[in-house]
Symmetry: C2
């Protein structure tokens, strides 16, 4: 029993080490150019140890992407009404800056997911999260009357994707938080009531500003 | 002289054939997976004919991307004030649906440009175009006072990128024009005066709706 537990813990640890190495390599090289042998080498593990957990590069990519759901579950939704929508976007931007797992996910989802084998699941995670946050904002009386929440969730997540991609290309993400703030300033008047507009912080509330990414930087 | 002219015309034609074949292959496979031999095979040309014009896959990718500037120069800017900003975005969306050159460019710019060898030029072409169109809209009195035109141009082009990418992943671009319209509806109140808002068509004016892509579909 003790031996079996130890073996199980070791297996979980190894799986995490492989995933982290895969995230680093996918972030750096992208799916097409990443190789299992580079991932093995970064993880410092044998072929057998890795293939026990993941039969292929494809499986590894899916496992890295699945970690995004973990991030979404951990994020702080405590700001009131619409401020939580902004705060979650700022928290995700910070995670992009700090966390190779999130960066790898974004690269895999955009490159491989968009062009090679469209997998809508990771996009749905974010659209659903935005939809739920907008629903809460509506219940708080923050939204303009008659807003279509599905359309708004789709526009918010899609625009965020474009903002972060543009910041990556033009500035290596150095201006990501400024771009997010500028984007919210322009988009908010089409989403929230004029009264609520005056009280929202488009740069994220002090709550999120003071927090670091949910996953520690590596 | 006549012989030299004929040779020159043939060279121009061959170059265009190679570019079109490259656009098709880059659109289908992406930069990493595209091969010169597949491009040769699609073009139906010999290795010598292709390498005379383009020494490498990299050179071909840059030449395909350069065609985007051609598109930008041909587009109809004749709608009044802010309507031209919307109309150009709709015209580009239509070009994405109809034209493998534009699709290949977007794939190359996002995949290769964003992740492998950031090349800001193709992004700048669009940001500059948006900036000029916004300037015209400001001169027409359409914009909210105090708007930062550089920030607005950056947000508009980045958001468009995200909208079209999301439509591609979630719907194979089948809902692209609907998504563009929904996006403008939400973004316009942060950009234009309330009076002008009432007269703008967020789906594109009849001018652009009646036009097809600048480059004929192939």
């Amino acid at each position: 029993m003790g031996r079996s537990m130890a073996r199980q813990e070791r297996a979980v640890r190894t799986r995490q080490e492989v995933l982290r190495a895969a995230a680093e390599v996918f972030d750096r090289r992208g799916f097409a150019a990443a190789t299992m042998s580079e991932i093995l080498s970064v993880a410092g593990l044998t072929k057998g140890a890795v293939y026990f957990h993941f039969a292929s590069k494809e499986e590894l990519a899916h496992a890295v992407i699945a970690e995004q759901s973990t991030w979404a579950e951990q994020v702080d939704w405590s700001a009131p009404g619409f401020q939580a929508v902004i705060d979650v976007s700022v928290a995700y931007a910070r995670a992009l800056l700090d966390d190779p797992f999130i960066r790898a996910t974004v690269r895999l989802v955009i490159e491989h997911g968009a062009f090679e084998a469209p997998d809508v699941e990771p996009w749905r995670v974010f659209i659903d999260m935005a939809r739920q946050l907008l629903q809460r904002a509506e219940e708080a009386g923050d939204l303009l009357p008659g807003l279509d929440l599905d359309q708004a969730a789709a526009v918010v997540t899609a625009s965020f994707t474009g903002i972060q991609l543009t910041s990556q290309v033009l500035a290596g993400r150095a201006d990501l938080l400024e771009r997010i703030t500028a984007w919210w300033k322009l988009l908010l008047p089409g989403l929230v009531t004029p009264e609520r507009l005056l009280t929202l912080d488009p740069g994220g509330s002090s709550r999120v500003a003071a927090r670091t990414a949910a996953r520690p930087a590596s």
